[in-house]
């Protein structure tokens, strides 16, 4: 249980700062520090057990289907990192309390920091690969928030975005790699994976899995060639940099290497990929740390360099090298966190981090100078400090490596060069900042930082010295347990001491220090040499790449989705053509086994009329009204065809839809020009004609092929079950309201949404209204012709009666909610046409939106109702009831559903038509005013 506490307490701690306010800064910091402090105490309580060899574990099943368990462990490796994260995290909280200015939102900062700490703790304690990955992604997200904390600065935003893009990409690769490992081993459980090294190494998927996992680790740990995000992340507030780039974020990558070392290491691929990447990164980072001018950028590149060193050690496939790598993780975390904090103090007190302006600060801040000097000496590998010990171990290991075979001597030489550079940039960091003359061009007079701000640095410096002086006493225990966890066999016996006698590594250390001093003295030559290279801003390059990507995708969107309906139609038709054309090519003959029916003369005449009217619609499209009349002819012919082939209810529906469409188009036509100019180019017409002809040909062939083959359709099932299953004789209606009720529910919902959308779009719309017709004649003054008004008014009750009739019998005979709704809607819209909006609104004093919405609600509730009886959604029930005077009546819940359909159709249709009609009414002089 205590394991869960270690992870969850900081998560709780991310909520606590928000209880405080930005004004009460002490309280805010104390509240934040409380939870990690308790977590640290819990960890310390567990420490003796872990060092003695126990591995506390804890597992809850979370999402078993994904192999995700909430499983935690606290082995030696986890313990080392947990202590680092919590210990340095607490120091950072104290430091940030004094670093952040009044303008910064302190509770928000602490909340982000705690969130980050939680995700980091989750990574190091995860006992399940997927859980580890989840926390890994959480660190990417929370570090994005932290790096971009000063979101008013462009550099912070861009740096945060870059870090997120690079580490997020790596995270996805890592997930793929971990899933591969999970598939090889058969489980995501950490211990099983760590024990299955032989299986993993023998599997052909080992190499892709290794590459993907290394991609994740290298992006996170800023290894070459992904090192560029780390210096850009320096736009973060310094406490963030001190935390992320010493003990946490970037260490997650090397932690992953150590964690999976027992499972993945030992192969040639691992040796070359990991150690050479590390070596290159070490040299690359060290060189740029010597060149750069900004204090934090120098430290950032030195971090890159040290991470390269650690990566190289993990790659060497040697047990002692792993121990050295773990030791250097510990040492680097201590001195680098301290150095970042001194850089922050300098920035805070001087207002600049430019190494050219800063000089001789020891006069103003002697204490900080001393602390910076100690920690930088540790970074340089100066004897009696912790950095010296791990660096010497590293140099010793490079002498042993089989890497590069006959050229193996190259490795220690390059490692020594890296150490020379490290000594040089450490010296430059201290001397150029704190000594070497007097400061110039400073915005404010520097002074010593307050004691609480120096305290964290002091603590870390003392740790550096203690480990440096008494390594056997202070570090052996935890290092051995950590190494046990990172190795397949028990760790080699560790003899940490300052003095190993005169040997080659000691000589290399001495060369590094002396060489570093010489390089520092001769640094101007190096700078002159470096100026020959064109300066490359990684941020600009990255932003350029992002911009190109955005432009490319935008181009893709513009090409495919350019806002032209014709274009969309083109894509739809082309893809339909491609898909159905392919399947047509797959069949052997167009004609099937069935004989072709004889066509009677009436059919031929009907087909000819339809074809003629269809062609006329297309050819006359620039004379809109005539084209529309031709379209009506097509509609009429379609409904006649339905009637001819025994579907009178479809004919009726088709006709009602036709009427509504014509009204809608007439309403819209009023606002459109009567004639459209000729716009299409000749080539476009050719293209469209070819496409249309091709599509028509394919559809015709498809129909022909289908109709000449015996068809096994599902209609028999519906015919058979419509009475027994749905209680209705009208199969079409039973399908609509019962068998496929869910489809219908979706459709009426869409109809309702479309109606509301149109209502909203038309709201307060004002359009140009032509004052005469296309030939320039003024409109007739007769607004509401007498005959139309009288006829339509007498028609209304009849139409409503018919629609009720059609609705009620719909379940057993042709009819139903949809057609009844259309009949009602058409009858009502006729009132609007004949009498005008005002007249109709006075008599129909209700809104259409609630009607449509209540229709959908009734239909949905009918479906939900079946849950109450323990049946699935939309199960219908029916029964026969004897009602006095009326007789035997069949009632089905499907009828209630149909009522919902009816109301939605009426509501939505009128919402569209009446509102479109109202567009002109609202700003026309009203009838009353005209009379007056």
């Amino acid at each position: 249980m205590s394991l869960l506490l270690i992870v969850l307490l900081p998560l709780l701690g991310s909520l606590l700062p928000s209880l405080s306010s930005n004004q009460r800064r002490h309280q805010c910091a104390l509240l934040t520090a409380a939870m990690p402090l308790i977590a640290l105490l819990v960890t310390l309580r567990e420490t003796p057990g872990v060092i003695a060899g126990e591995v506390p574990r804890l597992a809850f099943s979370w999402v078993p289907a994904l192999g995700l368990d909430l499983a935690l462990r606290l082995d030696g490796l986890s313990l080392l990192f947990v202590l680092l994260i919590l210990g340095i995290g607490l120091l950072i909280i104290l430091y940030a309390r004094h670093y952040l200015s009044e303008a910064d939102n302190m509770p928000r900062f602490y909340a982000y920091l705690m969130l980050f700490m939680t995700s980091m703790l989750g990574i190091v304690m995860a006992d399940n690969l997927i859980l580890l990955w989840m926390f890994w992604e959480l660190t990417s997200l929370s570090s994005f928030l932290l790096i971009g904390f000063w979101s008013h600065q462009s550099a912070a935003r861009k740096g945060a975005r870059m870090a997120l893009a690079v580490t997020g990409m790596g995270g996805l690769a890592l997930l793929a790699g971990l899933i591969l490992i999970g598939q090889i081993v058969g489980t995501f459980d950490m211990q099983t994976v760590l024990d299955s090294r032989d299986v993993i190494l023998a599997d052909p998927r080992y190499l892709p899995a290794l590459l993907l996992i290394l991609l994740g680790a290298f992006t996170k740990s800023a290894q070459f060639p992904f090192q560029f995000w780390l210096p850009q992340a320096m736009a973060a507030p310094t406490p963030v940099s001190a935390f992320l780039h010493s003990a946490t974020m970037v260490k997650a990558g090397v932690f992953l290497l150590a964690r999976l070392h027992p499972a993945l290491a030992g192969s040639q691929e691992w040796l070359y990929l990991v150690s050479l990447t590390g070596l290159v990164t070490m040299l690359y980072g060290a060189y740029f740390a010597l060149i750069k001018l900004d204090l934090k950028t120098i430290l950032a590149y030195s971090t890159v360099s040290h991470l390269g060193l650690i990566t190289m050690l993990f790659g060497l496939n040697s047990q002692m090298a792993v121990v050295a790598g773990l030791f250097h993780i510990l040492n680097h975390a201590t001195f680098k966190a301290a150095l970042f904090m001194t850089a922050g103090i300098v920035d805070h007190e001087c207002g600049t981090r430019d190494i050219r302006k800063l000089k001789g600060l020891w006069r103003y801040m002697p204490m900080t100078t001393a602390l910076a000097a100690i920690t930088a000496a540790s970074m340089a590998g100066f004897p009696l400090l912790n950095g010296f010990l791990s660096k010497e171990m590293m140099l010793a290991e490079t002498l042993e490596t089989p890497l590069l075979g006959g050229l193996a001597w190259l490795i220690p030489v390059l490692a020594t060069i890296g150490s020379i550079l490290a000594a040089a940039y450490s010296l430059r960091y201290v001397r150029n900042t704190f000594f070497d003359g007097k400061p110039r061009e400073l915005e404010k007079t520097p002074h010593e930082a307050s004691f609480p701000m120096r305290l964290p640095v002091l603590v870390l410096a003392i740790v550096c010295i203690i480990i440096g002086l008494f390594p056997a006493f202070s570090a052996t225990g935890i290092l051995t347990t950590a190494a046990d966890a990172a190795l397949t066999m028990p760790a080699p016996e560790l003899h940490l001491s300052i003095w190993h006698g005169f040997n080659l590594p000691l000589l290399m250390s001495a060369i590094a220090l002396i060489g570093g001093f010489m390089v520092y003295v001769l640094r101007q030559h190096l700078f002159t040499f470096h100026r020959q290279f064109p300066s490359r801003n990684s941020l600009a390059i990255f932003e350029g790449a992002v911009q190109r990507l955005v432009r490319f995708t935008q181009w893709g969107i513009d090409t495919l989705e350019n806002g032209s309906l014709q274009r969309y139609m083109l894509w739809v038709v082309i893809s339909a053509l491609a898909v159905s054309g392919m399947s047509l090519m797959g069949i052997e003959t167009l004609k099937g086994e069935l004989a072709v029916q004889k066509a009677d003369p009436l059919l031929i005449v009907g087909a000819a009329i339809t074809c003629f009217a269809g062609l006329a619609t297309a050819f006359l499209h620039r004379r809109r009204l005539i084209s529309l009349i031709m379209l009506s002819v097509v509609g009429l012919m379609a409904s006649l065809a339905f009637a001819r082939f025994s579907a009178p209810d479809l004919a009726l529906t088709q006709l009602a839809v036709e009427v509504v469409t014509v009204i809608l188009l007439m309403l819209a036509l009023f606002f459109l020009p009567q004639k459209t100019p000729k716009e299409s180019s000749a080539s476009r017409i050719v293209r469209d004609v070819l496409l249309a002809a091709g599509f028509g040909g394919v559809v015709a062939s498809l129909n022909y092929a289908l109709l000449t083959r015996p068809l096994n359709s599902i209609s028999d099932y519906f015919l058979e079950h419509s009475v027994s299953g749905g209680g209705g004789h009208n199969v079409v209606n039973v399908i609509l309201v019962d068998f496929r009720g869910f489809d219908t529910l979706g459709e009426i919902t869409v109809l309702c949404i479309a109606g509301i959308g149109i209502y909203k779009l038309l709201n307060r719309l004002r359009l140009f209204m032509p004052s005469s017709d296309s030939e320039g004649r003024p409109w007739s003054p007769d607004r509401y012709p007498m005959i139309l008004a009288s006829v339509s008014q007498s028609l209304l009750p009849m139409a409503l009666l018919v629609s009720v009739f059609i609705f009620l019998r719909g379940h057993n005979a042709p009819g139903g909610g949809f057609i009844a709704g259309l009949v009602t809607a058409v009858a009502l819209i006729l009132m609007y046409i004949a009498h005008g909006v005002e007249w109709a609104q006075q008599r129909l004093s209700f809104q259409y939106q609630p009607i449509a919405v209540s229709g959908v609600a009734i239909a949905t509730l009918t479906g939900v109702g079946s849950w109450a009886f323990g049946y699935p959604f939309l199960t219908s029930a029916f029964g026969h009831f004897h009602i006095p005077l009326i007789g035997d009546v069949e009632l089905a819940t499907a009828m209630l559903f149909d009522l919902g359909v009816y109301l939605t159709v009426v509501g939505a249709t009128l919402m569209i038509l009446a509102n479109l009609g109202k567009v002109t009414t609202s700003h026309r002089p009203s009838k009353q005013k005209e009379k007056a």
């Binding site: 003369p601 009436l602 005449v605 009907g606 009329i609 003629f612 009217a613 009204l625 005539i626 529309l628 009349i629 031709m630 009506s632 002819v633 009429l636 409904s639 006649l640 009637a643 001819r644 025994s646 009178p648 209810d649 004919a651 009726l652 006709l655 036709e658 009427v659 014509v662 009204i663 007439m666 309403l667 036509l669 009023f670 209204m769 032509p770 017709d773 409109w779 007739s780 007769d782 607004r783 139309l788 028609l795 139409a799 018919v802 042709p814 009949v823 058409v826 819209i829 006729l830 609007y832 046409i833 005008g836 909006v837 038509l913 009446a914 009609g917 109202k918 002109t920 009414t921 026309r924």
Partner: protein, 89 residues
């Protein structure tokens, strides 16, 4: 006898619809076309009634009745458009 009469009637109405289409296509004025379309509706109703007699099914008469009731609405809409431009005002 009925069968014979039906065939002749269907043929006559089919010819009528073709002639209607001719008027719709040729015009010359818009009211000509609209009137022709309306007549086409009337002739279609007649055809549906004939189908009903032929197949002996009641539903066809209902459908014819309903088309008669609603079919004229689109003619009304187009006429109102010619008259006033704005059909719902």
């Amino acid at each position: 006898m009925l069968d014979f009469a039906l065939k002749i009637s269907v043929a006559l109405f089919a010819i009528a619809i073709v002639l209607n289409l001719y008027r719709v296509a040729v015009g010359p004025s818009l009211p000509d076309r609209i009137l022709a379309l309306d007549t086409m509706y009337v002739n279609s109703i007649a055809l549906i009634v004939l189908f009903g007699i032929w197949l002996g099914h009641r539903t066809y008469f209902e459908a014819a009745l309903l088309i008669a009731m609603l079919g004229f609405v689109s003619t009304v809409a187009v006429c109102k458009y010619l008259l006033r431009g704005d059909i719902i005002e």
